[in-house]
Amino acid sequence: MNTIWHLVLNGISSGAVYAALGLSLVIIYRATRVVNFAQPALALISAYLAYATTKATGSYWLGFAVALLAGTLLGVLVERLLIRRVSRRSELSSIIVTLGLLLVLQAVAGMIWSNEPHAFGYAFDFRGRFSATDLFAVSAVLVTAAGVLLLFKFTPLGLRMRAAAFRPEVAKMLGVRVGLMLTAGWGLAALVGSLAGMLAIPPFISPNVLDKVFVFALTAAVLGGLDNPVGTIVGGFALGIGLSCISGLVGPELVPLAALAVLVLVLAVRPSGLFGRTIARRV
């Protein structure tokens, strides 16, 4: 019993990370119908910048701020320079473009900071079954998620962003600067993604460190329903806890297989995820 409790606690903090990265995927997916494979790379670059900042100044929080800022900027740039040109073309084009970007950014990170791992600190004391760092991770994710949801639901900006996402053409006719909204969506998503990166990367940073996390985050988003932020957050935590238990009780090597099994089972029953909208899908 004790063991299970430990595994659950352990899973909650990794689940928070899946939830946050998943959320960033959902924001972008809702806004531009693009699954952003470059998301881990955006988070990676911003985390490396945080690493460099922290190393230069000694301040974790300065690095943290740099990461969030850099992440947002990267998201904005990527949307403006690349995605705008391909997103309406086809699903595959945007997949391949973001994939290409992932490779480029990972390679650039390797060129600048080498492929060797570097120590990457936690925000707070990491010691304890549910340490200050774990608490920070979970609450940061929950606060961010709540903030994103409130932004979408209750602010004019959020309303514009949703309109631009759901019916870009109609939104344009109503005077919404749709392009700007999509850019804002990418910026916001990349901000959340960088937060996820800052939480997921410790203890070590290396160019491929977020690959696995990304796969699980995408799994969480698909589980929860790709256009449903709440579902994705629930999916992220559920996946984190579930995989931690499987790793501890059955075997660590089965984690990817278990993720696959869960995904297949859920999608067999609900093809648009647990909380996805099945009816509103347009061809």
Binding site: H6, N10, H118, F124, P203, G248, P252, E253
Partner: protein, 440 residues
């Protein structure tokens, strides 16, 4: 369709061509023996081309990508001094990203296209095991494989393949005896990588440790969450944790133990006990963890095995020698065990090349591997002989200090991989000045 017959005939031609391709069973060994090793591709009057495959990119690159940088530094040093027997060593490094498919491709590229004379220090068990048969079939010397797997030592089947590292079972035996002798009566847990590293090391450990072992947990290199494993050790009351882990997982385990307030005695395998790397990885956490855990506390007192004159053996002349090469030829890279690993490998190859003589053939190089007495740089001798291609045969036991220096707590011991005893190795090594490779 108008002419189904023509079509069928054509289809038949193509299909039977495929069927013809193998009248015999695909798994039955066909004809074709070893190529003659009495040739010397890749050798000219003033150069010899050698190759290796290393994971330079991808998820497996961290921890390994600097080995070839170390080797390259030594080759540059030797070349600048006039080369070996008047030949410069040209070192071709191919990136296989730790992907066996790519390993086969790049090794065939090295052999067929680059026409290398030998493969030196090909890295990894899952990767290199896929090319051993090919290299032996082609008669290509396959020297100093960068892995502690047992399979490199098979002179009958793989006459051109030679090991390098102390194999996992030997190292396990030395660790097992050390723990048995020094931590008598304490409960022991194993954290192992769930492949041949884990399997072979445990075989060695188990020769000395039996009832003391209260928990065995594997980790998967793709899953960086080792908290569940460490939690189980804590619950089982293990006081000694033997960690047969690569550096990242050693560090992860140390951090995971600190996280749950678990303070066992860690015993590390040589593959994951590089103090410089570990220090780089853990010190930052210690800084942030608050005043009560000083940075060093995570590392201090950890026990490990080693067989090379690492950067921390400051009074070892070989360590000094390699540091000088490092400072001159690769000053921008950190001077770590990993780097020394590549440097010793390169130096050892150069020793064999020297012994093979000016009139070079592949066979002469292979002969030199078994006849040369490679005294130094390694701390223990190689097991090379007519009927053994086993790499280093033993290791010393070290304790890592708070400042990431090390103290030797058990001098080099050697053993075999069977039932043989673990015995001290007493022979003196020559100093670098006494091993002259260059000039005439």
């Amino acid at each position: 369709m108008r002419s189904p017959r023509t079509t069928r005939v054509l289809a038949g031609v193509l299909a039977s061509a495929l069927a013809l391709s193998a009248c015999g069973g695909a798994g039955e060994t066909g004809g074709g023996g070893n190529r003659s090793a009495d040739s010397a591709p890749g050798v000219t009057d003033d150069t010899v081309v050698i190759g290796t495959h290393q994971p330079l990119t991808g998820p497996a690159a961290p921890g390994y990508s600097k080995i070839s940088a170390g080797a390259r530094a030594v080759y540059s040093y030797l070349n600048d001094a006039g080369g070996i027997n008047g030949r410069r060593i040209e070192y071709k490094v191919e990136d296989d990203a730790y992907n066996p498919t790519k390993t086969v491709e790049v090794v065939k590229k090295l052999v067929l296209e680059e026409q290398v004379f030998a493969i030196v220090g090909g890295l990894g068990t899952p990767t290199h095991s896929k090319v051993v048969e090919y290299l032996n079939g082609e008669g290509v010397p396959d020297l100093l494989v960068s892995s502690g797997a047992l399979m490199w030592d098979d002179p009958r089947k793989s006459p051109t393949t030679f090991g390098y590292q102390v194999d996992y079972t030997r190292e396990g035996k030395i660790q097992g005896k050390f723990v048995k002798d020094n931590f008598a009566g304490k409960k022991v847990a194993y954290l192992y990588q769930n492949d041949d590293v884990g399997r072979d090391t445990q075989a060695g450990l188990d020769r000395f440790l039996t009832d003391e072992v209260v928990a065995r947990e594997g980790y998967d290199p793709a899953n960086t969450d080792v908290n569940p494993q460490l939690s189980k050790f804590q619950q089982a009351g293990a006081e000694v944790v033997v960690c047969e882990c690569i550096p990242a997982f050693t560090a992860l385990s140390l951090l995971a133990a600190a996280k749950i307030g678990y303070k066992p005695q860690f015993v590390l395998s040589s593959i994951g006990a590089d103090p410089a790397t570990l220090k780089g990885l853990v010190e930052q956490f210690a800084k942030q963890a608050g005043a009560d855990v000083p940075g060093e506390a995570l590392l201090a007192g950890v026990i490990g095995t080693s067989y090379l004159p690492g950067p921390n053996l400051t009074d070892d002349p070989w360590s000094t020698f390699f540091r000088e090469i490092h400072d001159r030829y690769a000053p921008s890279e950190p001077f770590t065990d990993t780097m020394v690993y590549g440097m010793v490998q390169a130096f050892t190859f150069a020793q064999a090349l020297k012994a093979a003589g000016r009139d070079l053939t592949r066979q002469k190089l292979l002969d030199a591997m078994t006849t040369t007495s490679f005294d130094g740089p390694g701390l223990t001798p190689f097991g090379f002989s007519a009927d053994s291609h086993s790499g280093y045969t033993g290791a010393q036991v070290i304790r890592i200090n708070a400042d990431a220096t090390v103290t030797v707590i058990q001098p080099p011991h050697v053993t075999d991989r069977g039932d043989g005893p673990v015995e001290p190795h007493t022979e003196e090594r020559p100093s670098p000045d006494e091993v002259v490779l260059t000039g005439s």
